[in-house]
């Protein structure tokens, strides 16, 4: 009974949780400390611009623009891959998931590392040996060049635009949340900066921006973990003991579990945070996502492209090893970041600022530096915010470069000009393509304001895994694979992944939105009245601030629910005209990936393609031995 009583107290605490002190100021950083954030952002922008200026003098031909002259070392490329791959979703998102849901957040991160086994074992070296600049180059090797380049370019641009949209919207929201500048201004700032790197410095500048970002990201995480873990004498059980024993953690678990929590003791609630099932409920969905990650990463055009920047296949191998070390180490650190934020900041405060938990890392930085009112705390927050900004810009630059290469190298040079261009013309085409893609990214970013784009990252991986990977893998390893196979497989793979997402629960279903939010609105007046009564009864100044926050929170919850219903006003069906999702899966991979493979098989067996057959021996020998591989450019 005692435990039960305690849980009720905890739940009452959750409802009156000290809320957002920052929301009113317009950002996580209080106005008087904003100059610190701008200084940190300025320092990072200045450094990357200097690097771009140095790079711009080197970038004169296509090999420099697309592949940094193939003179990036294995270790450098490993850091750049980590910089290209660890998006804000990993840095802020996974730490946030762990801070809100414990074990499941950490489990979610594992697939992002395991994905590199596929890259290392099956993709990196063969692609380096036979490829030049793009996914299209690999597929055009033995398939009909123009057809292969066309589907490869369309697929590259599709995958990149999905991923780009998620990054641009996420970036805009992030910068707005952190420092309170307008969403549109944030999106344009990210876009213009990324365009400057790509257009002037091509792959050389992009590589260095990604290396700088990865080094900063790892440094920031190590510092944060050091200060978070220090009070526990770097003891692992000691730190976890503190997490499971923390009342804020126990309160969060009680909130997530709902009724069943009433019979659990505080200790049981705390321990539950380190057990699975608080966030990921559908194992089939998780396996579906896992498949998309494990097979999709190796089909991501911006990741593939990184392997053309090293001198040899052996360097490509070295770069994956380094990337795996950095990426894996980083995810292990995020466990400490997430739990540290859960203990020191608390899930209530983290989700009050951002429901997805994205502010867990930055808020932890502010805490370990000395808190919201200290200069050091805000300096640390500013540093972490600037690193998050660099993270977005570096990932976006890699994506824009990959889609621009597909446009200029595959479509313009390969398909339209029939490979007859001067090196100067190709670089000019690449720069113009970058500008087009960059402007499109900015426009989409602004147009998608307020949309839920989180599922677009998973969709990008699902399309890459269902379309690009089957085509690349079977072109490299299956003798009978041919043009008909890859055209059919890539088309069906990509379209089925997209179509499945369109009928999945990821879309907005107006009826469900109303059903979900109407009870919230109905309950709100009572909660607001209770909070007002509570506030009126308080005489103590210190308690008044917290009661005022609780009141503001209750009003914010009502406003959010009303806004959600207003957004679907007069609608009864989703974008594709459905009242309810056709399937319960959020991740299409488990259906679309086998379908993509199957269609490559069927297409290849249904049609004969003399060239694909004749080129097989050359391709197979070259991908295994590196004979005639594109060499590094001496400079």
């Amino acid at each position: 009974m005692k435990a039960r009583h305690r849980v009720h107290m905890v739940l009452a605490g959750a409802l009156l949780a000290p809320g957002t002190i920052f929301a009113q100021a317009g950002g996580a950083v209080a106005t008087e400390f904003r100059w610190l954030t701008f200084t940190a952002f300025g320092a990072i922008i200045a450094l990357t611009m200097f690097v771009t200026w140095l790079a711009a003098r080197r970038v004169k031909d296509a090999s420099q623009f697309y592949a940094a002259g193939r003179s990036v070392s294995g270790i450098q490329n490993g850091w750049a891959i980590a910089g290209d791959y660890l998006s804000a979703a990993s840095f802020l998102g996974i730490a946030g998931l762990i801070s809100l849901y414990g074990y499941d957040g950490f489990m979610y991160s594992v697939g992002w590392l395991v994905a590199y086994i596929t890259v290392l074992l099956l993709i990196a070296e063969p692609c380096r040996n036979i490829g030049k600049y793009t996914l299209g180059d690999i597929l055009a090797f033995r398939n009909h060049p123009k057809k292969a380049r066309t589907v490869a370019a369309i697929s590259t641009i599709t995958v990149s635009i999905f991923y780009l949209t998620a990054q641009m919207v996420g970036g805009g929201v992030l910068v707005k949340t952190l420092i309170g500048i307008d969403y549109e201004v944030s999106v344009i700032a990210v876009g213009v900066l990324m365009l400057a790197y790509v257009i002037f410095g091509g792959m050389v500048a992009t590589t260095w921006v990604q290396i700088i970002k990865a080094v900063l990201l790892v440094t920031a995480s190590l510092l944060l973990v050091f200060f978070t873990w220090l009070p526990y004498g770097f003891s692992l059980p000691g730190f976890l003991e503190a997490a499971v024993g923390d009342p804020k953690v126990q309160m969060q678990v009680a909130k997530l579990l709902g009724d069943p929590a009433a019979t659990m003791s505080a200790a049981e609630l705390g321990q539950r945070f380190l057990e699975p099932g608080l966030y990921l409920k559908n194992p089939i969905d998780q396996i579906s996502l896992g498949l998309a990650l494990v097979l999709g990463t190796a089909g991501m055009p911006h990741i593939l492209m990184r392997f053309f920047t090293v001198p040899t296949a052996r360097d490509a191998r070295t770069s994956v090893l380094w990337a795996m070390g950095i990426i894996g180490g980083f995810y292990i650190l995020t466990l400490f970041l997430g739990l540290g934020a859960a203990i020191n900041v608390g899930a209530g405060k983290i989700s009050a600022i951002d429901a997805g938990g994205n502010m867990a890392g930055p808020l932890l930085a502010q805490y370990v530096g000395g808190g919201a009112d200290s200069v050091l705390g805000n300096l640390f927050l500013a540093f972490v915010a600037a690193v998050a900004f660099a993270t977005i810009v570096a990932v976006v630059a890699g994506l824009v470069l990959a889609s621009a290469s597909a446009m200029s190298h595959d479509i313009w040079v390969g398909v339209i000009k029939g490979d007859r261009t001067t090196p100067g013309e190709e670089v000019r085409a690449a720069r113009i393509s970058s500008l087009i893609v960059g402007v499109v990214a900015i426009v989409i970013g602004i147009a998608a304001k307020g949309q839920n784009v989180a599922h677009l990252v998973a969709l990008a991986f699902a399309v890459a895994a269902s379309s690009n990977l089957p085509a690349v893998l079977l072109t490299l390893y299956w003798r009978k694979c041919n043009t008909a196979g890859i055209v059919l497989g890539m088309t069906v793979g990509a379209l089925s992944a997209i179509a499945l997402v369109m009928v999945s629960p990821n879309m907005t279903y107006p009826n469900a939105v109303r059903a979900q939010n109407q009870p919230v609105i109905a309950a709100a007046p009572a909660k607001i009245a209770a909070a007002e009564a509570n506030l009126a009864a308080i005489i103590n100044d210190a308690e008044r601030a917290s009661a005022q926050n609780a009141l503001d929170n209750a009003k914010a919850v009502l406003a959010t629910a009303q806004a959600k219903i207003a957004a679907v006003e007069g609608q009864t069906t989703s974008m594709v005209g459905l009242e309810a999702p056709l399937m319960s899966l959020r991740n299409p991979g488990i259906i679309s990936i086998p379908l993509g493979f199957l269609c490559v098989f069927l297409g290849s067996l249904a049609y004969r393609d003399k060239r694909a057959d004749e080129m097989w021996e050359e391709l197979y020998v070259r991908q295994n031995t590196g004979i005639h591989a594109e060499g590094a450019v001496a400079h």
Partner: protein
């Protein structure tokens, strides 16, 4: 003369017993490691969903089987990468270099 303009007899290299041997050893090794890696990884979401009681067993303070298994995923991924790289850097690269050298030597003779 640029090495890339030389004509190599691809069918001959493909039929070379040393290339067949490289292909055989690499294929078995790579696909074996790949299969193991995928299986081991999917044990994590499957275990979390269907072996929940096992995942909850406490081993060392609050550290439970689930956490240890999740950490082991990192060690296994790194381990696979390390094992592959060691064998590829030594054995596979040496064999490939030998085949590459001979093929280029023959290509030069046929061009001359």
């Amino acid at each position: 003369m640029d090495a890339r303009t030389r004509t190599v007899n691809w069918a001959a290299v493909n039929a070379d017993p040393r290339f067949r041997e490289l292909h055989r050893r690499k294929s078995r090794f790579l696909w074996g490691l790949m299969a193991f890696s995928v299986l081991y990884y999917f044990l994590l979401p499957l275990g979390a969903a269907y072996a929940t009681e096992l995942f909850k067993v406490k081993l060392w303070g609050p550290v439970n089987v689930g956490l240890v298994f999740a950490w082991s995923q990192f060690l296994v991924a790194w381990g696979i990468a390390f094992i592959y790289a060691r064998r590829a850097n030594g054995e596979f690269d040496a064999l490939a270099a030998q085949i590459n050298r001979d093929a280029m030597a023959k290509a030069t003779r046929s061009a001359a």
